[in-house]
């Protein structure tokens, strides 16, 4: 396994990251590692530079984005997010739901309603009809969903702080139990899944409203 993104930037595996400092480091390292500035090196060296600069870019792209950063950390912690969504899909299939991801229970009713409305908009578009009241209603729901997405992100940040505190304790030599780690991890996985679900919904709604 090659060096992980946190280690690459010399960062602890914490989720609160100073993005401005990360950007400065990224620029500084780019000035050393970018292939353009090493174009006259020997071919072996150029291969190394290509490897390192792609690692730098991949690491920066992942760490600067709060959601990607969280997902990446969970991956390092052994959570197979893809497996997760696969399980979710299987579950959804088993319950007769066609959605890829399981619907968060507190959203079930709302989502059902919204999907009906989106379907209607779609049909109307096909027929060349227009229902401003419906569009307005969907627009309102979109705002609400975006609000939910926001609050889920704040919830996630709350878990970040708990996680970072745990890592700090570990760094200070206090042991952290595997059970505690797993619990914190699972909370983040759960909130990410819910957030992803809503994000996809927002995207569907935006598309329906734009087209």
């Amino acid at each position: 396994m090659p060096v992980d993104y946190f280690t690459f930037f010399g960062l602890p595996r914490k989720l609160n990251v100073d993005v401005a400092a990360l950007e400065r480091d990224f620029y500084e390292l780019s000035r050393k590692l970018h292939p353009d500035l090493n174009a006259r090196a020997a071919s072996k060296e150029q291969e190394w530079v290509l490897e390192q600069s792609s690692l730098l870019n991949d690491a920066y792209r992942t760490l600067k984005d709060p959601i990607k950063r969280t997902q990446y950390l969970l991956l390092l912690e052994g959570v197979e997010l893809e497996e997760q969504s696969k399980t979710a899909t299987d579950q959804a299939r088993a319950t007769g739901e066609t959605k890829k991801q399981i619907v968060p229970p507190d959203l079930l009713e709302e989502v059902f309603e919204l999907n009906m409305q989106l379907e209607e908009v779609h049909m109307q578009k096909k027929m060349g009809e227009d229902d401003p009241a419906l569009i307005e209603e969907i627009g309102k729901q979109k705002l609400e969903l975006e609000g939910k997405q926001e609050s889920l992100f704040r919830e996630l940040q709350g878990y970040w702080n708990v996680w970072d505190g745990m890592i700090q304790r570990e760094q200070n030599g206090q042991p952290v139990s595997e059970e505690e780690r797993r619990q914190e991890r699972d909370k983040m996985v759960d909130v990410l899944n819910r957030r992803n679900y809503i994000r996809n919904l927002v995207r569907d709604v935006s598309e329906a409203l734009e087209n």
Partner: protein, 633 residues
């Protein structure tokens, strides 16, 4: 020895240019006709020899079947991609083309590929640069539209190789333009580059930060440009002619090219004038005349230029920026001279765009800046660094024909992604992977880049092997793939079947066909050029011997000249350029007095002091010249 001189090349749809960094600023190298722009036109003359640039243009009208233009539209494309193009462009494809194959085009009696035609243009630029520097040029930075996909980039790189150029970097055109602009104003801020050229449209949004040019988002359309406007005008003219004169010239290449020439001139004039009059002589002697007002023109092109709006909005959305957050807008490409285009840009970005640099040259100038950075930099480019992105998402086909995106568009390059594969059947040794480029959900709607076969997976139970496949997009925007089976540590063999691309073997073959690729060839060309000069000076000497001036030379002088003449003839039979050159110079020296005497007796004293060579032939170029000298009466 190869020198480290690296030139910057803009290989355009309509025109191509070569530039280099002269001291602190980039300059365009003119061709032997003194012009900076080399039209991207290639023709075959009656002897089957390629003619490139301005001198190829007349073939478009005289022998259209022996000329080709806008070849960039076909780079890295397959038969399925170009159906639309073929309705509007007079490309003559080989009849036996199959799906997924590299396009082959008939040009006169030859059949050739788009990279080979582009290579001829590149070779002309290479020669122009070599004549300018007086030495071989083997390294270049070549620009490509930012929205070019992997296959189009690979085709451009292949063209460079075929032309005998080591392509050190492919740079995106709008980004190159930003480098040229950024050179004099080193500042921080956000800029948008709107690049509407002959055949392609790009929009790039960059963040400038202490010399780092970081592309945040890019978008575009590789089939949108001035060509599309020309085609609208041509279609109208052909319809007019059919309606009013009852003549159908749609299949008459000569007529179409005459009309094309006229409408392009008209289009350009309309950027300055309120109206123009088209007047075209048609085969059969009739004339087509029509007035076009700017208003009509603007109405006509509105749908074409409106197609740039979507990509601009998408790029801003991807960058997470609103128009008011963009500090400056830069215009690139000849089509941005159209006032209506400028108005559209102003409306989109809510500010007046910059037009300080010549939109036809700015990309080549930027390529020269990038060439300088790659060559180790100079005071002017110190601290400058380009961080570009991949314009399209990279994906792989997964079950159900769905695209699984593994590197998202607008990721800074180099970028990589790792995927794990396993087997479905016990002892399975191969896994097929289909790599795609594009934003659509379904694999069939994306662009097929390549199909890879992972081979030599050690025999294991189904699901046991764990093959790690690494996808890496390099700084040129070109994909590389490597694979390793993790349990055995064995490198898997990858067989690449590029979609619409040339294989390495094919490119190698084409390089061998080209006689202009290496240092060796440069020397050979120098010898040929020197021999032409020998022929010239010997002819002049013959003439001198018959002139009255010959009688005024002393016997000794005559003996000396005869000796040098013999020496020249001797080295002329050898392949040593330097020796021939020396003998020419010696004879030139030795005949100075003869030249003077000839001039005294015959022509004006203004030519005094010239040697034989110059007296008879006029001023020669100071650097090696691939063409025979012009006749001088």
């Amino acid at each position: 020895m190869a020198t480290d001189r690296i030139v910057g090349i803009d290989l355009g749809t309509t025109n191509s240019l070569v530039a280099f960094m002269q001291g602190e600023s980039p300059v365009v190298i003119p061709g032997d006709d003194g012009l900076n722009l080399v039209p991207s036109v290639v023709a075959l003359d009656a002897d089957g020899q390629p003619v490139i640039g301005n001198s190829a243009r007349r073939y478009l009208i005289e022998t259209p079947e022996r000329a080709v233009y806008s070849i960039k539209r076909l780079m890295g494309r397959g038969l399925e991609d170009v159906k639309e193009e073929l309705k509007l462009f007079p490309f003559r494809l080989a009849e036996d083309l199959g799906a997924g194959e590299v396009l082959r085009i008939r040009l006169g009696e030859k059949t050739t590929t788009p990279p080979e035609i582009s290579a001829l243009i590149l070779r002309q630029l290479k020669r122009n640069a070599e004549r300018f520097f007086g030495e071989a040029v083997t390294k270049a930075v070549i620009t490509v539209p930012a929205y070019f996909n992997d296959a189009q980039r690979q085709a451009t790189k292949d063209a460079g190789r075929i032309a005998g150029l080591e392509v050190l970097r492919l740079v995106n055109e709008p980004t190159a333009a930003s480098l040229a602009y950024g050179l004099d104003k080193k500042q921080n801020g956000t800029i948008a580059v709107y690049d509407l050229g002959g055949g392609t449209f790009d929009i790039s949004i960059l963040k400038l930060h202490d010399g780092i040019f970081e592309v945040i988002a890019t978008n575009g359309d590789t089939h949108l440009g001035g060509d599309d406007i020309d085609n609208l005008l041509i279609t109208i003219a052909l319809d007019d002619i059919r309606g009013d004169m009852d003549l159908d010239f749609r299949r008459n290449a000569e007529a179409v090219q005459s009309i094309r020439k006229a409408v392009i001139e008209g289009k350009i004039a309309l950027s300055e004038q309120p109206s123009i009059k088209l007047d075209v002589e048609l085969p059969g002697g009739k004339r087509y005349r029509r007035e076009v007002t700017r208003e009509q023109f603007e109405q006509l092109i509105q749908p074409v230029i409106d197609r740039t709006v979507g990509p601009c909005k998408q790029a801003m959305k991807d960058a997470g920026l609103k128009p008011e957050q963009i500090d400056e807008v830069v215009l690139v490409g000849g089509s941005t001279r159209i006032p209506k285009v400028r108005a559209l840009v102003k409306e989109l970005f809510q500010r007046d765009p910059h037009t300080d640099l010549n939109p036809d040259e700015v990309v080549a100038l930027g390529a020269a800046v990038q060439a300088n950075i790659l060559g180790g930099g100079s005071e002017a480019t110190e601290n400058m660094l380009l961080l570009d992105v991949t314009p399209l998402s990279l994906g792989i086909e997964v079950a159900g024909g769905v695209t699984d995106k593994i590197i998202l568009r607008n990721s800074t390059v180099p970028a990589s992604a790792t995927q794990f594969y396993t087997t479905q059947v016990d002892g399975q040794a191969n896994v097929a992977i289909h790599v795609l480029q594009g934003e659509r959900e379904l694999a069939k709607d994306c662009r097929s880049l390549a199909r890879f076969d992972l081979r030599g997976i050690p025999p294991m139970a189904a699901g046991m092997p764990r093959v790690e496949v690494k996808f890496l997009i390099d700084a040129n925007g070109i994909l590389h793939v490597s694979a390793r089976e993790q349990r055995s540590g064995k490198e898997s063999e990858i067989q690449v079947q590029p979609s619409y691309g040339l294989t390495d073997e094919q490119v190698e073959g084409m390089i061998l066909d080209s006689f202009d690729n290496a240092e060796e060839d440069f020397r050979r060309r120098q010898v040929i050029e020197a021999r032409n000069e020998v022929a010239t000076i010997l002819a002049a000497l013959d003439k001198g011997k018959k002139s009255p001036a010959w009688g005024h030379l002393t016997t000794d002088e005559k003996k000396q000249i005869a000796k040098m003449e013999k020496a020249l003839a001797a080295v002329n039979a050898e392949e040593d350029y330097t020796a021939i050159r020396k003998a020419i110079d010696a004879l030139n020296q030795g005949t100075t007095r003869l030249a003077e005497l000839m001039m005294d007796s015959a022509v004006s004293t203004a030519l005094k002091g010239k040697t034989m060579d110059e007296a008879d032939m006029g001023e020669g170029p100071t650097a090696p010249h691939p063409m025979a000298k012009a006749e001088f009466e």
